[in-house]
Structures are given as C-alpha cells and as structure tokens.
Subunit: 397 residues, 2 copies
C-alpha cells in the first residue's frame, strides 16, 4: 500500500536537515527503465519554482523521476529559486545517471524561505543509495509538513497495479488542493493517454476537496506509468483502459479523503452535494460556497444544525437562484423546503432532532437542490476549529 | 451623537420579548413631516422578507420611517415571512397615522425562524409612545444582536447635521457588510439626489469592510433626509452639496470602522491597500482575497509576519498578475520586492523585526503593489480568532 506498490518504481526518504523538526525532508521516486509521466498543477498565478520547472520538463515528455523536499516551498524566491530548483533536480538526475530532463521536482513548506540547497545536495547521494522497491513508506514520510499521518493508497486492475501517496493538510483548496500527490502504475501507457487519464480520473478527486479555500503556490500531482507489468497496455479501446482508470480513481479518491481527514484542525469531514443546477460548474460554485463558508464550518465544528447558514451561502455564491426552488438536507433531515425552513424547526421537534444527529456524525452531509437542472457537484471539506486557528496562528513563529 | 442628531427625527427602542436574552429588540425611527429616503441592500440572491418589502416601498418614493426588529432575520421564511413583515410595518404605520407606503422595515437575527409577530405587534404602541428626539441611543441598542457596543456617529456640514447608527458583527462581507445601518440628515434633499449621495458617499464605506466574507440575506442601509434644517437644500451644484457628502461619508466611515472593531472575535483590525492594478475592480478582488484569507487572518491573530500567505492570496485572487511586479509591505516593512521575499527575512534581521512591530499594532496594515496600473482599493477587515470559532460554533445552541 504505497507509491512503490506498482512494479518498476523505487523510492526513498531521508533526512537532509532542512526542517527545524529534524524529521525526514527529502524524497526520491524513480521509475525504471523510463516511464511515461503526466501532471497537473496549481491554478495559483504565482507558481513556485519547482512547479515551473516540472511543468516545463513534463512537456519534453521524458520525465521518469521526481525529487521532493519538505520544509521550504521555494515560492516567492525569484530567479534564485528557479536556479536552486534546477540545481537540486540536476544533482538528483546526475546521481542516478538520468538525463536532466527526466527529473521533476516538487517542494512544500514555508513560502519565501530559500531552499537549503547545501544540505539538500549533500543528502541526494544518500537518497539515491536508499532507493528501494520498499521505499514508498519512507518517501511518503519525507514529504509531510504539518501532516500527522502518511497518506497512501493502492488498487489493482487485473494484472495492473496502482500506488500513490500524498501530503497536505492546510492551504488546501479547490483547483488542486494544496498538496503534493504522486501516483504510479505499472501499466504501459503512452504520454497522451496518461495525460488523459490524469485529467479525467485523478485530478477530479483532488479538485473536489477543500480545507480552507486557499489554493497554494505549490500544488502538484504527478503520475508515472512504468510499463513494468509485463507490457500490459493501458490505452483507449483496450479492455484494461476502463479498469485502469477505475483503479487510478480509487487511489486518487482514497488519497483525497485521507487529506481531508488529516486537514488542519479538522474534527468532522463535511460532504456537500449540490444538484438541480443549470450546469455542473454552477453546482460546483454553490458547493464550494457552502464548504468554504466560515459560518457553515464553525457550525459543523459546534454540531449546530443551522440551515440559515446554508441558505446564506447558497444566496451568496454568485449564481442566480430562485428561493422557492431550494430544498436542503442535513444528514437525512430536510431542513429547507421550497426555500423555507419549517417554523417548527425552531421549537425543537423531530426534524431538528434528526438534523442534530446528522451534525454529530463523523462525516456531516449537506445536500442542496437548487432547481431542476442537470448540474451537480460534490465537495469534500472540513470544519473550522480552535485547532485550525492555533496551528495557523503559530505556524512560523 | 446618534441617529436623531439630525433635526426632524425621533426614535425609540423597546423590549418586545422576541430575543432569548430579554434585551431590547424593537426599534422605530421616524422623520417628520415627511423626509425623502434612499437605500442600498444586500447582493445575496436570497433576500429576506423585510429587504424585499423595503426595496419595493422605497421605489414608491414616500418612505419616512422604519421599524426594525432584532432576534429573527425573517429570511428563508417564504410567503408567511412576507406577510409577517408587511403586518409589522403596517401596524407601525397605522399607530403613527402614516401612509402604509411610508413605513420601511428591517430585521436581523436567526435565519429561518419566523418573526414573533404577536409580541412585536403588542410592542408597537409602546415604541410609538416612546419616540423622542433623544431616542437615538435606545434605537441603536434595540437593533443589536451579538454586537457588544452600539455603533453611532454624527457629523456636520455647516448648518446641516448628519447622524447614524449601525449594527452587525458577523456574517459581514463585501457588497454590503451584513449589517443594518441608518443614516439621517436634516438637509432637504430630493429623492434622486439622496439616492446619488447614498451610492457615492455612503455605500462605498460599507462595501469596503469584511469580517468573514459572508454576505447576509438582510443587509440594509437606509438614509433619510428630513429637510428640518431650515430648508437648507442639498442638491447638486449648490455649495452645501460637497460638504453634505463629506459629512455623510464621515458618518458612514465611522460606523463601518465601529462595525469592524466590534467584529465577532476581532482582536486586530486589518487594513489592506492594493495599488497598481489594471483597474479598481481588480484591486478590490485582490484586497478581498487577502482580507478574507483564513491563513492571513489567523496570521494576524497570531501576530505572525508571514509574507508567503499574502503572496498566496494575491496569486489565488483570480487576477492575472506577474510575480516580478509584486511588492508588499507589512506595516512599514517591505517584505516582498519584485515578487521575492528577501532571503534574510528568514534568519531574523531588521525587516522581520519591523514586520513584527507592524503585526502587533492594533490596526495591522498590509500594502500590496501588483503592477503600475491605475487601479487601487482599500479593504478593512479583522483577524480570525478562537473567539470567532467559539461565537459561531455556539450561536443557536
């Protein structure tokens, strides 16, 4: 159950000493002999140096490995940051005897702080020596920042294997949760097909989560296909295509849920389902407005079944909605009918009891119908707790 | 220093008993003989019943009084809510011997809970009896919900007086902070001119504040001009026009600042100034993205001078920005230069010291230049504290 579950991959995680905590901070993931790769990246306009480098090298089409550091994000670091990202990647490629273009890179940590390049470069040979088919756990450990657990997943599609790991518990938002995720498969997949699978089966799982609505400068999802499973091809039209897609989606969905469950200060996962919108995009805006509303998030934290805050968020989402077309549920309790919260709701009674039960479940479910259109969306989020404030009020100090 | 400072207005605040706290909950503000009125309202698509009623009656052009209740928002209450708002307003008009069209209404409190109409109707005669030119304080008291202080202001423009009061400490967002505000003047102003003054001199002050980014269903700003100042006309072209506008803006700005200072859990006011944008709208989007970012808000709470979170918010604002054009300051310390946070920043030093001082001021100032365009914007916000989570996790329970 790790990123090296798929055959053809080795990984390592070591301690370069660039994190104040002294925890492992340098990860290396390598596919042999030369896998195909695809990636999706943050939509933040201010992309970190490693994001720019990896995007550019992916276009060259020869990527087969990635070196990752945690501790510094290497964002808002200017040309010196680009140079540092390049030197780290080149050192890793050179130690492995790979073409420079084959090495991607990703970083996570404090924005603005320069990479501690000397320490990282010193640790690269150690990471290379440590590479192992059992190295997935160590790799998943080395990419963590405020994470409290490793996030790993695996799945199978007949003969084919899929593995993956991820990190990221804060600055997590739609359009790629602020996070790093690495997914591997031993299928043989062309670069074009791998890109299509990444966009259709992997990216949506990460785009459907939000912790605090803040899209980071460093979000990166990289996908590698080694072809080591005896040449079983994942390509459009063959039988394995659909089942490979399912396995990739299973791994991505598992990783996304693990990210939310370990979200900073999250005590309850929140699942927001919106239906009946004119289109999926409108439904997504409404679902995000609910999942990112600090009033809804604090209500979830306090187990307070407050339908008015859901109504407020729907109305403020920037979508044209008709009040009388709105129905909403908390758990199994219908708390809004044709735009109206039942008056009896405020004097207790069965609906409020049922909503209260829904608010106390580990996964609090909101369902909102805003009309009879075909559009729908589901977003996974978390509550807003004292602990979120504590973690983020004390992060760098 | 109250909403009755302007001549020609009486006000009252009484206890109808519709708030669990037993605090005053019914306010009445009346202009004599028949002032002109103007208003601006929430942009939330799901507008409360009193908002719909007041909008419609303002169009009739004869409004001269407003009855306000706190405790229930009368939103998400359907047709029964419209009927209740109408009955409350009509009862107040009838008690005063006013035309029905002359009475506006506003509500604030829990969304969905029906108006406690019986109690309110019983208290209307008491409110009418209590009307007094010294009633502004009681009125300001009666409209409070989780507010801890009354918000009142006054200003003068030569012979003319301007008064005002407001309430609102949560669900406060751009496009009219979630709040009620009432501004009066004893100038004689035509309905068209009063509408123009409201939009140009009063609304911008409230649109420039945000507490939690949540636009409410009930936001209402009402402005009345009694003409009681001996017929001094406020009209375009006369000398008094500009000074009357200044006085209205002074009152609105004072009320907006008081709202932020009493924002739920706010320990530090945050002033975000963005300049160099292609246009004011783009600057506003960036300023809001910073002021509403939970990561920036928790950093302000923790006095943590974290420029990376400002950079993240700028990049995620949905505006096309060039990293190398970004300069940013915390207080007097320049923490980002041409898109780069100075490397020395992370090993202490003078800039970090200065930024730390800036973070500890009661009003934390962020200034961001994103290019050399003509667009600029200023937003006033507050930090995100344990207390915000406590208040909003426990609101209705």
């Amino acid at each position: 159950v790790s990123v090296t579950y798929a055959r053809g991959f080795t990984a390592a995680g070591v301690t370069a000493g660039v994190k104040p905590s002294g925890q492992p901070d340098l990860g290396l993931l390598v596919g042999r002999p030369g896998p195909t790769a695809a990636g999706v990246f943050t939509t933040n306009r201010l992309q970190a140096a490693p994001v720019r480098l990896s995007r550019a090298r992916l276009e060259a089409g020869r990527a087969s490995a990635v070196v990752v550091n945690s501790g510094q994000a290497n964002a808002a670091t200017g040309e010196a940051g680009d140079e540092a990202a390049r030197r780290l990647a080149d050192a890793a490629a050179s130690s492995l005897g790979l073409d420079i273009d084959a090495m991607l890179t990703a970083s996570t940590g404090v924005i603005g702080e320069p990479l501690h390049l000397d320490e990282l470069l010193r640790a690269v040979p150690l990471a290379v020596e440590s590479l192992s088919p059992e190295g997935g756990d160590a790799f998943a450990r080395a990419i963590m920042t405020t994470d409290t657990t490793r996030k790993q997943a695996s799945a199978e599609a007949g003969e084919l294997r899929v593995g993956g790991c991820a990190k990221g518990v804060g600055m997590v938002a739609p359009n790629l949760a602020t996070m790093l995720a690495f997914v591997t498969t031993d299928a043989s997949v062309s670069p074009e097909d791998l890109d299509a699978l990444t966009r259709s089966r992997i990216a949506p799982a990460f785009e459907a989560i939000t912790i605090d609505g803040c899209a980071s400068t460093n979000d990166t999802v990289l996908v590698f296909a080694s072809g080591a499973a005896g040449g079983v091809r994942g390509e459009r039209g063959v039988a394995a295509w659909a089942s490979l897609g399912d396995a990739l989606e299973e791994v991505a969905t598992s990783l996304a849920r693990q990210l939310i469950a370990d979200g900073e200060g999250v005590t309850h996962v929140m699942l927001v389902a919106v239906e009946g919108a004119p289109d999926d995009g409108s439904a997504r805006r409404v679902a995000r407005a609910i999942a990112d509303s600090p009033l809804v998030k604090t209500a979830v934290f306090g187990s307070d079944p407050n339908p008015g805050r859901v109504v407020q968020a729907v109305g403020a989402a920037g979508i044209d909605v008709d009040a009388s077309a709105i129905d909403a549920w908390i758990g199994n309790a219908q708390v809004v009918t044709a735009g109206v919260i039942p008056p009896a709701y405020f004097s207790g009674g069965a609906i409020r009891e049922a909503a209260m039960i829904g608010m106390k479940e580990p996964e609090v479910r909101f369902r909102v119908r805003i009309g009879d259109g075909p559009g729908s969306s589901r977003i996974l989020g978390g509550d807003l707790s004292y602990e979120y404030v504590r973690i983020n009020g004390e992060y760098t100090t």
